[in-house]
């Protein structure tokens, strides 16, 4: 290890030059977050973009049932999406990592990864085609004789949840798969040698060892769903009122920067608390496993 202070002048200049652009970009980001925080503590002057003096009123307003309703709506969507993607994602991740055929592994990888790289607008639009009153799902159900009149999926919480499940599933699969890929398979072999059946080996060895990946997956998907904006707007049509939509309405709709900013800070806090809890949980599990 070379100590920083021990470097020659030229090398240090090079180093500063190398990290300077990153610091400039971080400057923009931090400036934005600081302004958000600052605006959230200023009073709103109706009809003007200028803001008034210092106040806590914006945060007190979040307690209003209308806005608390949005918090509840958001959490409900987040829990549904996280839970379902976990249940659907685990088997897919397991096959993706453990299947003996490289062809099947790479096919699953490609099919999973592709939607991940398609933009949120393309994917949300795809769900409008699936869920519309004359959309794919209703046509298939009618064709099969299961329904007579089309079911309403658009502008409903259920539609938004369904779309968000498909949109977040690739992330969950990748996170769980990463966890599974790093398990030393000798543990499972040992368990089987010692007489554990495949189910016992899975539930007592593989599953606990894959928990860090599972927890990271849940945290990331929860965070993603919390941040989701385009899907609730496009599928929910403004009737599934989640927190991000509320921030958008206040900022670009009503031009109430202070209140919008305080809602934004609130979303940010939930996000940060969530990430911290997740990190703590992963660390505790890893310590208990003796790593």
């Amino acid at each position: 290890m070379i100590r920083y202070s021990g470097k020659k002048g030229a090398e240090r200049t090079q180093e500063i030059l190398f990290i300077l652009p990153s610091i400039i970009f971080l400057g923009f980001l931090s400036w934005g977050l600081l302004l958000l925080f600052q605006y959230s503590l200023r009073s709103y002057i109706p009809g003007s973009l200028a803001v008034g003096g210092f106040t806590f009123a914006n945060y007190e307003r979040i307690i209003d049932p209308l806005y608390l309703g949005a918090v509840w709506e958001t959490l409900l969507v987040c829990f549904w999406v996280t839970g379902t993607t976990l249940v659907l994602g685990y088997p897919l991740a397991y096959v993706l990592i453990r299947h003996p055929s490289p062809f099947i592994r790479s096919t699953i990888l490609i099919l999973t990864i592709l939607p991940f790289f398609l933009g949120i607008i393309v994917r949300s639009y795809a769900w409008m085609l699936v869920l519309g009153n004359r959309g794919f799902l209703n046509q298939v159900l009618t064709y099969l004789g299961m329904i007579e009149t089309p079911l309403q999926f658009l502008f409903r919480r259920s539609g938004v949840i369904l779309a968000l499940i498909q949109i977040s599933l690739p992330v969950m699969v990748i996170m769980i798969a990463t966890g599974l890929a790093h398990i030393d398979r000798n543990y499972e072999r040992t368990a089987k040698t010692l007489g554990a059946g495949p189910f016992k080996a899975f539930f007592h060895v593989t599953l606990p060892l894959s928990l860090p990946g599972v927890i990271s997956g849940c945290i990331v998907v929860f965070g993603w769903t919390l941040s989701a904006f385009a899907t609730p707007v496009m599928i929910g049509g403004g009737r599934v009122y989640v927190m991000t939509v509320m921030v958008y309405d206040q900022i670009l709709g009503s031009g109430n920067f202070p209140f919008g900013a305080s809602l934004g800070v609130f979303v940010l806090m939930v996000d940060i608390v969530l990430l911290l809890i997740g990190q703590l949980a992963v660390k505790r599990i890893q310590r208990r496993m003796g790593r």
Binding site: L20, S22, F25, P91, L118, Y125, T244
Partner: protein, 277 residues
């Protein structure tokens, strides 16, 4: 390895069948919406009927005729290329510094650069909009390019770091012993060895930039709108398969890029999916 595979094959024929059914159903759920978009873009009417009633290119023609889509396309390309270039320069510099690893505060800078992955896009968008309003640059190109560079930087940095981990440090040492100075070592040894990481970083950055929506919605104005923002505004006003036509172009671009990425560095490596057998 072979015995392992055989054991896998031999057990629970019934269980395996159910397993296949479940996995296939999940894969269908993942891919069908995308396939529908492609079908819908060639559909002659604006409501997609099953089975489709014919093939038509009218939505692609509509796409070519509308000036807002044309402007969106030009803006997306311009912003994509410029932000990728900026992110690449930034990412290479930071990646090398982190890899050599002894400058103070590198953990903080690394975490900060990676943070757009976990921060809600709406928050970043509002924050940068406020920065723009303080500097008089609302809806102008500079703030949009900065925003895009920030959003793609995590992906660029990861590609660069992965590539650096695969470089044999002895090569640089050998160059140093043979008398090459720091600048020469950088341009003649490190940079050429970094090529796969740079290639992957460029592809990643382009694909993320052309698809970026939430932050763009806040920082762009009519003149700087990128394609996803144009698409969003269009769906708020009309529902017809013109969006499907644009989406199909996006889908094809994405498939090609993924294929190139896989060839450049391997998708599984980027996603840290390669582990112990």
């Amino acid at each position: 390895m072979i015995s392992e595979a055989k054991r896998y094959e031999g057990k629970f024929v019934g269980g395996r069948f159910v397993g296949w059914l479940v996995v296939s159903a999940i894969l269908v759920f993942l891919t069908v919406p995308t396939i529908l978009v492609v079908f819908s873009s060639f559909n002659p009417t604006s409501v997609l009927d099953f089975p489709p009633k014919g093939i038509s290119l009218r939505w692609y023609l509509n796409l070519a005729e509308r000036p807002d889509f044309r402007l969106g396309f030009v803006n997306t390309a311009l912003i994509g290329v410029l932000s990728t270039f900026l992110a690449l320069l930034t990412g290479i510099g930071l990646g090398l510094s982190i890899h050599r690893g002894s400058f103070p505060g590198r953990q903080v800078i690394y975490a900060g650069i990676m943070s757009p992955l976990v921060l809600p896009g709406v928050i970043i968008g509002v924050g940068l909009l406020m920065v723009a309003s303080k500097t008089g640059g609302v809806g102008r190109f500079p703030i949009v390019i900065v925003a895009h560079a920030l959003m793609v930087l995590p992906f660029v940095l990861r590609s660069i770091l992965i590539s650096l981990e695969n470089i044999d440090p002895n090569l640089e040492k050998a160059a140093a012993i043979l008398g090459a100075n720091a600048t020469k070592r950088f341009f003649h040894v490190t940079l050429p060895l970094l090529r796969p990481g740079i290639g992957a970083g460029i592809l990643f950055a382009l694909i993320m930039s052309i698809n970026e929506f939430t932050v763009s919605l806040f920082v762009t104005a009519r003149a700087t709108q990128t394609m996803p923002v144009v698409l969003f505004n269009y769906t708020m006003a009309y529902i017809d398969p013109t969006i499907a036509a644009v989406s199909t172009v996006y889908i094809i671009t994405t498939i090609v890029t993924i294929w190139l990425l896989d060839r450049a560095v391997g998708i599984a490596t980027i996603l840290k999916l390669e582990g112990q057998g």
